[in-house]
């Protein structure tokens, strides 16, 4: 049996304080507004936090919205101004980080990102540096919701994949269960009470969570069926009618990993220049606009085809599993509630409908 600890709700701030002694702790924080949202922010003593599912996943812990890949500066030799040396700094920006109260779909997101960033022919050094310094504490979900579908795509409300510790809400507090050696070690040093006597209760709560989920369709054929629709542009046009071509669905997705690289500032200036890596997304027409002006995906339907195919057909082809974790954020955050579930189901049922 794994290592378990138990903490009362009022003990959580002390636990966070303990964690933040040697790490940056990213915790969900409520942003009050007419439309309130929950975002991950660095926690410090005294700061309020929430255990609600975040509007924005904690993807930024490994893939920040913007990071400096290289900073560069040309420095003149004072004695001999003709001699100019180029100073380069490509040290990854990586801090020891604990993500606290992610959800299982977010945690699985890290695993989805690991494959292209670490397991491909080249490991991305920036991603790697952050990933190695990351510990993930995940709060299991006690119920499903109207947009999430983790259990359609291989996950579930208590899926341990990608988490170092799984935390489950019980009637009077939280049980924390070590999943990886890193998680075990963290719990052992936490000073929290042992939770072994609550293990059975934890299992019951997790089982009850599964029971709240609506029945999942079988997506076994999805990769082949989505691929089969690739050339059916009419299909994608219809499915994409209402899309506004913003990028919300991808920027709120814990598994979207495309980026753009731009340079800012001049090497010869006092501050020097910086090469930035920022999020980019396939829903934007700029994504595929070539230097000539030609755009291979001028129509939003073709861009949507890329997004859905990537998640449900080409990523599975490369890595053997969907790159959508069913977190539902692309649905709940889309200004026109475009539903990726429906597109996949329509692709699967297309030939049935035609007959």
């Amino acid at each position: 049996m794994s290592i378990t600890r138990f903490v009362k709700p009022e003990g959580l701030p002390a636990f966070l304080a303990h964690l933040s002694k040697d790490a940056r702790v990213l915790a969900p924080v409520v942003k009050p507004a007419d439309k309130r949202s929950v975002v991950f922010e660095p926690w410090k003593e005294g700061k309020e936090f929430t255990l609600e599912k975040a509007t924005v996943p904690a993807k930024a812990a490994v893939l920040p919205q913007c990071e400096t890949l290289v900073s560069y500066r040309k420095v003149k030799d004072k004695a001999n101004p003709q001699n100019v040396t180029l100073e380069l700094d490509d040290t990854p920006q990586a801090e020891t980080t604990v993500v606290f109260a992610a959800r299982p779909c977010d945690a699985r997101g890290y695993v989805t990102l690991d494959r292209p960033y670490l397991k491909g022919p080249i490991a991305d050094p920036y991603y790697k540096a952050r990933r190695e310094k990351l510990t993930v504490i995940t709060l299991t979900c006690n119920s499903g919701c109207n947009t999430c579908f983790c259990h359609w795509v291989g996950g579930g409300p208590s899926s341990p994949e990608g988490s170092d510790i799984l935390m489950t809400e019980l009637s009077d507090g939280y049980i924390l269960q070590g999943i990886t050696p890193k998680g075990d070690a963290l719990l052992e040093g936490s000073g929290l009470d042992d939770g072994a006597d609550r293990f059975k209760e934890m299992e019951d709560v997790r089982k009850a969570a599964w029971a709240t989920l609506v029945k999942a369709p079988n997506l076994k054929d999805a990769p082949a069926k989505v691929a089969a629709k690739f050339t059916d542009v009419d299909f994608w046009t219809r499915e994409t009618d209402r899309c506004l071509s913003c990028g919300a669905c991808t920027y709120f997705c814990p598994t979207c990993y495309c980026f753009n690289i731009t340079d800012e500032g001049e090497a010869t200036s006092e501050k020097g220049g910086r090469r930035l890596r920022t999020w980019d997304n396939c829903m934007s027409p700029l994504f595929t606009r070539e230097a000539s002006g030609h755009n291979t995906r001028m129509e939003k339907a073709l861009r949507m085809r890329n997004r859905v195919s990537h998640k449900f057909s080409t990523y599975p082809e490369n890595w053997g599993t969907f790159s959508c974790n069913g977190c539902g954020r692309c649905i709940s955050n889309c200004p026109v509630s475009l539903d990726i579930r429906q597109i996949v189901l329509d692709a699967i049922n297309a030939d049935k409908a035609a007959k």
Partner: protein, 482 residues
């Protein structure tokens, strides 16, 4: 220079090549001494000055910005400064909503021969900036997270519109459908407690059309992409304003668009509805009555009275029935205009300049530059070529700083000056709930005050105010340089 004591501040000057730059030259040749804080950027004409130059300078650390061009009627290009005058005046009235003191920006006219006047302008403006001191920076204040007060009173009782003759509307659409490529309306979304845009191409599609308080999306956003094709659109009163504004700007052709309308009784603020519903898996049922809806989710009943849960704009709506339509089902509702300040703007009005800066700092931090706000805007038509992302021109970096994010919002707001109809889609689309509508509302208010109560999207023949000028502006007066 003895004129001012103390350290130099950063003042940026935009001077037109033909008059003011010459004026500065004249002052220099005459050895008319001036403070040295001003850094001059020469531009061909004051009409070349995009108000965003000024916002960019102010957001990036300028303590003051001075614009100077040829006197009215004296423009080298005939009318550049007439256009500039309108834009710059709107900008001046916009800056305070960002938390920027509008005294930090001034525009004036100096001719090439007025060396002395130039000296006087620079001295006076520099002194003013020194009196104000260094400009507060967006990054400095503690984030302020105030919430918009939505306890509003509506100009008329709001309802659910269920008495409307939806069947008649459907019949009318079906009759027209053969001539049209598509008709845009609404259908139920992924559950019964929301709707999404519907694209009707067959009579079966028309059967999916719904009308009621969940119809929040503005279908006008899709019209420009169909320019040149025959399309139909179903509109609420506010959506019709977007259609009219698109017509005003020739972004669509009147003969291509068939407008179907019914009187609207209000739509729901889905943010508050979703907040009240909380986390649920299934909607069991949605029941309508005259004044509200009852949604049962996971066995629990939630009651939403329209007067309590409507979108902010609905409370002050005076045009619930389309101003322009081809097929109107029902009788237009008369609403007497009354006092109404949009709730977002009211919140900003209640704050000091410093608080506003702290507010935007606190709000914009969480923006992830997804551009849902931009793409949901029916009037934002060059979105595929938006300067927010282009490298050429390079207006804005891709950094995730609060400053860049706020700058993008000012880009959007300024590009919508005199065009925004207040449909609220930008703010509704924002997944992280940033009250960006306040910026657009302030500009709309300024435009109304400057241009005789002008409202966008009401008259298809009207020229948007920033696309025109008057030689003598009724409400824009040059400030004295005392």
């Amino acid at each position: 220079m003895p004129v001012l004591n103390g350290k130099e501040l950063r003042i940026v000057g935009f001077l037109c090549n033909w008059c003011s730059y010459g004026g500065a030259d004249t002052a220099g040749t005459a050895r008319a001494g001036q403070p040295t804080d001003l850094r001059i950027i020469r531009v061909p004409c004051s009409g070349r000055i995009d108000p965003l130059f000024i916002v960019k300078a102010l957001l990036n650390g300028a303590d003051g910005v001075l614009v100077s061009g040829c006197h009215p009627r004296d423009c080298h290009y005939a009318a550049g400064n007439f256009y500039a005058r309108r834009r710059l005046e709107v900008l001046k009235q916009f800056l305070p909503v960002l938390g920027i003191d509008d005294r930090r920006f001034e525009y004036t006219w100096v001719s090439a021969s007025e060396g002395q006047r130039w000296q006087h302008v620079v001295q006076t403006f520099t002194k003013r900036i020194h009196d104000l001191g260094p400009a507060p920076k967006l990054e400095d204040p503690e984030p302020l997270l105030k919430v918009v007060d939505m306890a509003l009173t509506s100009l008329r009782p709001l309802g659910t519109g269920q008495k409307n003759k939806l069947d008649e509307l459907k019949a009318a659409i079906k009759a027209k459908l053969p001539e049209l490529e598509v008709v845009i309306g609404w259908q139920q979304g992924y559950d019964a407690a929301r709707t999404v845009p519907l694209f009707m191409r067959t009579p079966e599609d028309v059967d999916k059309l719904v009308w009621g308080p969940f119809n929040v999306n503005n279908p006008a956003v899709y019209l420009p992409q169909y320019k040149g094709k025959k399309v139909g659109i179903v509109v609420k009163g506010c959506d019709a304003k977007s259609v009219v504004e698109l017509l005003q700007e020739n972004l669509i052709n009147r003969e291509d668009v068939t407008i179907f309308a019914m009187p609207c009784e209000g739509t729901l603020d889905m943010a508050r509805v979703n907040q009240e519903l909380g986390r649920y898996t299934t909607i069991d049922k949605v029941e309508y009555d005259e004044v509200g809806v009852t949604i049962t989710a996971d066995g629990k009943e939630h009651r939403f009275c329209m007067n309590d849960f409507a979108q902010g704009k609905c409370y002050g709506c005076t045009m619930p029935t389309a101003v322009l339509s081809d097929t109107l089902i029902g009788t237009p509702t008369e609403v007497k205009p009354g006092p109404y300040t949009p709730p977002e703007l009211a919140l900003l009005d209640s704050m000091s300049l410093d608080e506003r800066l702290a507010f935007w700092r606190g709000q914009m931090e969480r923006c992830i530059r997804c551009y849902a706000c931009r793409n949901a805007c029916p009037m934002c038509v060059c979105r595929d070529y938006c300067i927010a992302e282009s490298r050429e021109p390079h207006w804005i970096s891709q950094e995730d700083s609060t400053r860049d994010k706020l700058f993008f919002q000012t880009i959007h707001a300024m590009h919508l000056a005199g065009r925004c109809t207040g449909c609220g889609e930008c703010q509704r689309a924002c997944p992280v709930g940033i009250p960006i509508l306040a910026l657009r509302q302030q500009i709309a208010r300024a435009v109304g005050q400057l241009f005789d109560g002008y409202k966008s999207g009401v008259d298809p023949e009207a020229v948007p105010p920033l696309l025109g000028y008057e030689v003598e502006e009724k409400n824009i007066h040059e400030r004295e340089w005392k």
